[in-house]
C-alpha cells in the first residue's frame, strides 16, 4: 500500500516538473508529427477539398473580346450540374461526358468480376499451398511473383499473349485449327481480357492472407472432426470457410478498393478501346484531364471515385483498425 502511494507521489512530482517547463517539451510530439501532417495536408486533404470545390464549377471559355484579344472568362458556379450531366442520360449523348455511365458500369463489372473470381481462386491456391508438397517455395514463387511486377509490365506481357496476329494464344489456336479471337478489339470480349490480367496479377497477393489464416486454425479442430468421421470437404465447409470469414471480409474490402484504382494496364492493352467498352473511371480521368473544358467534369468524376473508395476504406477501418486498436 505504502509503495503505491510513493509511486503516486513520484508521478505527481514528474507532473508538476513538467508543468514548470511547458513550452518546448510539450512541442516535441507535435514537431515529430509535423512533417507527416504537412505532407498529408498538402497532398491529400487540400486536393480533396479543391476537387470538391472545382466539381461545382464550369470552367470559363477562352474567348476573343471586341479588340480581338484572347481573354479567359471566369468560372461559373453551377452547383451539382456537373454531377447531373454525368448521371442523367441525354439524347444525343453529352458531348464531353456522354460515355460516363458506360464507363461507370464497366468499372463496376470490372471490380465485381475481379473480386468475385480472384478471392475464391486465391482461397483454392492457399489450400493447395498449405499441403506438404515437394518444391513448395517454387510453386509459391510462381503464383506470387506477378504481385511485384509493375502493372504496366505485367499487362504488356499479356499484350503479347493476346496479340491478334503475332500473339501467343492465337498462334496456338491457329496451329490447333481452333477459330482465333481478337482478344483486345472485340467489344464483348475486351473487358474480360482486361479482367483476366487483373486476376493473374492479384491472386497471389490474396493467397498470402488466406495462407496466414489457414495456418492460424488449430490442428486439433480438424483431428476432432476427423475422429467424428467428417470428410475433407465436410471439414472445409463446416470448419475452414466459417473460421476464415473475417479474412474473407477483409480481403473483400481491400480487393474492391484496389479494383477501382487499377487502370495502368489499359495503357498497353487497348487504351480503353474499342468504343470505351474496356474503359475504367480513373483512366477516363487520365484521358480527359488535358482538356480545359472538361475540368469541372474531371473533378466531379474524381469525387465519385473518392466517395466509392472512402466508403470501402471506411468500412475497412471501422471493422479492422478498431479491432486491432483494442488488442
Amino acid at each position: 500500500m505504502e509503495q503505491v502511494s510513493t509511486s503516486i507521489n513520484t508521478a505527481s512530482t514528474v507532473q508538476s516538473r513538467r508543468i514548470k517547463h511547458p513550452t518546448w517539451r510539450h512541442l516535441i510530439p507535435y514537431l515529430l508529427i509535423a512533417p507527416t501532417l504537412i505532407f498529408v495536408g498538402l497532398f491529400t486533404i487540400y486536393p480533396t477539398i479543391r476537387t470538391f470545390e472545382q466539381s461545382l464549377y464550369q470552367p470559363g471559355m477562352n474567348v476573343r473580346n471586341e479588340r480581338g484579344q484572347r481573354v479567359q472568362q471566369p468560372d461559373t458556379f453551377v452547383g451539382l450540374q456537373n454531377y447531373a450531366d454525368l448521371f442523367i442520360p441525354q439524347t444525343p449523348p453529352h458531348p464531353i461526358v456522354g460515355g460516363f455511365l458506360q464507363i461507370l458500369s464497366n468499372t463496376i463489372v470490372f471490380a465485381v468480376a475481379s473480386v468475385g473470381i480472384t478471392l475464391p481462386l486465391s482461397f483454392g491456391m492457399a489450400l493447395l499451398m498449405n499441403r506438404a508438397i515437394r518444391g513448395r517455395a517454387l510453386w509459391r514463387f510462381s503464383l506470387f511473383y506477378p504481385v511485384l511486377l509493375p502493372l504496366i509490365g505485367g499487362a504488356s506481357m499479356w499484350a503479347f499473349l493476346y496479340g491478334n496476329s503475332g500473339g501467343l494464344i492465337n498462334t496456338v489456336l491457329r496451329s490447333l485449327n481452333i477459330p482465333t479471337q481478337d482478344w483486345l478489339n472485340t467489344p464483348d470480349l475486351v473487358l474480360w481480357s482486361v479482367i483476366v490480367v487483373n486476376i493473374w496479377k492479384q491472386a497471389g497477393f490474396y493467397m498470402i492472407f488466406y495462407l496466414a489464416g489457414l495456418q492460424s486454425i488449430p490442428k486439433d479442430i480438424y483431428e476432432a472432426a476427423a475422429l467424428d468421421g467428417a470428410s475433407y470437404f465436410q471439414q472445409l465447409f463446416t470448419i475452414t470457410i466459417p473460421l476464415l470469414r473475417r479474412t474473407t471480409l477483409f480481403l473483400l474490402v481491400i480487393a474492391s478498393t484496389y479494383a477501382f484504382q487499377t487502370v495502368e494496364q489499359l495503357d498497353v492493352l487497348n487504351k480503353g478501346m474499342p468504343a470505351n467498352r474496356a474503359n475504367l473511371l480513373l483512366w477516363y480521368i487520365y484521358q480527359m484531364y488535358p482538356s480545359s473544358q472538361a475540368r469541372g467534369y474531371v473533378n466531379a468524376i474524381s469525387m465519385v471515385l473518392v466517395v466509392i473508395l472512402f466508403t470501402f476504406t471506411f468500412i475497412n477501418f471501422a471493422f479492422f483498425e478498431r479491432r486491432s486498436a483494442d488488442e
Binding site: 515529430l32 507527416t36 505532407f39 498529408v40 508438397i133 496476329s165 471515385l305 471506411f314
Partner: protein
C-alpha cells in the same frame, strides 16, 4: 487411405498446372525477347526460334532513353524511402510513446490518407505541382509520398512492442530523444524497416499514372513510362520481340530483388495489406 492418396495426387497436379499457367506470361516474354524478328512465332516452334539473339534488347534500348529512366527511377525510389524512414520514425514514436493534447484527433486526420488514395487525386495534385513550380521534375514524383501514414501506423505498432523499461534505462543514462531512437528503438525494429522498405520500393518502381501525368522530359521520367513509350513507338508497335525485351528491362530488377528477399517480401506484403 487409397482414396486420400488419389485426392493428393490430383491436388499436386492442379498445383503444377496452375503454377505453369501463372509463369507462362513471364516465360514466353523471355523466349520471344531472345528470338530473332525474322523468325516470328507462327513459322514453327512456338517455344524456341532457330537462333538466340540480343538484337531485340539492342533495339528496345535505342527506342527510349533508358539511362535517364533508370536514373530517375533509382533516385525516386531512394529519395522517397530515405525521407519516409525519417518521417515514419518520428511520427511513429510520438504516437507510440508520447501523450499529448489532440493525439487521437491528429491520428484520425492522418488516417484520411488511407481512406482517400492519392491515385484519385492526381488532377489536383498536378495543379499543386504546377503552382509550386515542380511540374516535370523528379521532386514531383517524390514529394506526395514523403508522408506515409501506413508507415506511421506500422512503426507505432512496432515501437509499442518494445519494453518501455529500455527507454527509461537509456534516459537514466542521460540519453536524449535522438539517442533513444538511434540506440534503442531503431535497432530493435530493423525487420519492420526492411519490410516497409520492400513495399515502398516496389510501389514507387512500379508506378505509372502519376509520373505519366506530372513529367514530360525524358530526364525526369521513370522506367514505366519508357515501357509505355516503347508501346507507342511505331517501329516497336507490334514487334513483340522488342516490346518484351523492354518489358524484361523494366520488371527484371524487381524479380531479382524478389528472388533475394523472397520470404521477407511475402511477409511484408501480407502486413502491408493490413493498413
Amino acid at each position: 487411405m487409397n482414396k486420400r492418396n488419389g485426392w493428393s495426387v490430383l491436388a499436386d497436379i492442379i498445383t503444377v498446372i496452375l503454377s505453369l499457367i501463372w509463369v507462362a506470361p513471364l516465360f514466353f516474354a523471355l523466349l520471344i525477347s531472345i528470338r530473332p524478328t525474322s523468325d516470328p512465332l507462327g513459322t514453327g516452334n512456338i517455344f524456341f526460334g532457330r537462333t538466340i539473339t540480343l538484337e531485340n534488347y539492342q533495339r528496345a534500348l535505342e527506342l527510349a532513353p533508358w539511362q535517364w529512366h533508370y536514373l530517375t527511377s533509382i533516385l525516386v525510389v531512394v529519395g522517397v524511402l530515405v525521407v519516409q524512414l525519417i518521417t515514419i520514425t518520428m511520427a511513429g514514436y510520438a504516437f507510440a510513446r508520447m501523450k499529448f493534447w489532440g493525439r487521437n484527433a491528429l491520428l484520425f486526420i492522418l488516417l484520411i490518407q488511407l481512406m482517400i488514395p492519392s491515385g484519385v487525386l492526381v488532377v489536383q495534385n498536378l495543379n499543386i505541382m504546377r503552382q509550386i513550380n515542380l511540374f516535370d521534375t523528379r521532386w514531383a514524383l517524390m514529394m506526395p509520398y514523403w508522408g506515409s501514414v501506413f508507415g506511421v501506423l506500422l512503426m507505432r505498432q512496432t515501437f509499442r512492442e518494445i519494453p518501455p523499461e529500455l527507454e527509461e534505462a537509456a534516459r537514466i543514462d542521460g540519453a536524449n530523444l535522438f539517442q533513444i531512437l538511434r540506440f534503442v528503438y531503431i535497432p530493435l525494429s530493423i525487420p519492420t524497416y526492411v519490410a516497409f522498405a520492400l513495399v515502398s520500393v516496389s510501389a514507387r518502381w512500379n508506378e505509372f499514372l502519376w509520373p505519366a501525368m506530372v513529367t514530360r522530359t525524358a530526364e525526369s521520367r521513370p522506367v514505366t513510362t519508357g515501357l509505355s513509350q516503347l508501346f507507342s513507338a511505331t517501329e516497336a508497335g507490334t514487334n513483340y520481340g522488342q516490346l518484351m525485351a523492354g518489358t524484361i528491362l523494366v520488371v527484371a530488377p524487381l524479380v531479382v530483388l524478389f528472388i533475394f528477399f523472397q520470404r521477407r517480401f511475402i511477409e511484408s506484403f501480407a502486413s502491408s495489406g493490413l493498413k
